[in-house]
Subunit: 153 residues, 2 copies
DNA sequence: GTGATTGCAAATCTTTTGCACTAAA
DNA sequence: TTTAGTGCAAAAGATTTGCAATCAC
């Protein structure tokens, strides 16, 4: 039960390995300026403990309920956006009907399985964008997203 | 007032240059197996005459109204999807809240201006994806979308 | 005619918002 | 205390659907 690296890097007081994830998450939230409320702590633990993941608000809400965490869907939405603004999550746009949030903040891209609406990370070094045009005058590139849409053969 | 190349390529009977776009669009629709109804003809003319464009259902509906074309929003949605299925349009996913349809069917990518929700084509030869991972077993790559998100400096 | 298409309104789905209540600092 | 955060229900926005009326063939 360990926190992955990369999140909560701005923690003022880095905790040692044997401390409880609870405390890490708590301080992590404080570090990004969010009060560590019961709901945020619970959602952060669901999101950041274990493997990297891609969630929708609905999925995370269902998971919280399954874990007996009382939290409203509205709060799940608010929390996902707050975490995104705080730099703990990234929003991935692959489906014009639903928002996905990715806990993997490193430079990487995605496979998208349209038939199942499932996302899978592609490590950054497995995609090389060798040429890009200059952005229009007065504009700067914020992000380059590569989505590889795959289907069953 | 000319049809650009690339659309309705499957036309059984290619019309000569001096024929009316109306007839071209009409036959084009027939060629993809859609009855050339008043609404489809009018929407096709709006979409395929003139420059390449990126439209949402709402935008196209407003444009139709402005041109005194009576068509319901539901029919605009249906038509956009039928044209997409028929290979006349491509759906571009850049905004998880709204669907954009692109009349440019050639191989290309996009700039997306998040502040204005505007799309701009990047010609295919200005983006080079030099390396891509193999798709997971049993899957094939359907499409690779590159979205360059830009913001004001 | 007959089967496809349309329009409208209602339904659905995702997401946001207003506001009284609760909890963190 | 004081202010941020939460839950709920209602609202909003995009899209789809059901079905009778209409149109293309």
């Amino acid at each position: 039960m360990t926190m992955r690296k990369g999140h909560f890097e701005k923690m003022e007081i880095m905790k040692t390995e044997n401390q409880r994830p609870y405390k890490q998450v708590l301080d992590g939230l404080r570090a990004v300026g969010l009060r560590p409320t019961r709901q945020r702590l619970a959602l952060a633990k669901l999101l950041f403990e274990g493997e990297d993941r891609h969630v929708t608000a609905e999925m995370l809400h269902a998971e919280a309920q399954a874990a007996s965490i009382r939290v409203s869907l509205a709060t799940v939405y608010n929390t996902l956006h707050q975490f995104t603004t705080a730099g703990l999550l990234r929003e991935i746009v692959v489906d014009s009907q639903r928002s996905y949030f990715d806990t993997n903040m490193s430079d990487h891209h995605h496979f998208f399985f349209e038939s199942t609406s499932r996302l899978e990370d592609i490590p950054g070094d497995e995609v090389v964008v060798a040429k890009l045009p200059d952005p229009p005058a007065g504009m700067s590139v914020k992000r380059v997203d590569v989505v590889v849409r795959v289907e069953a053969i």
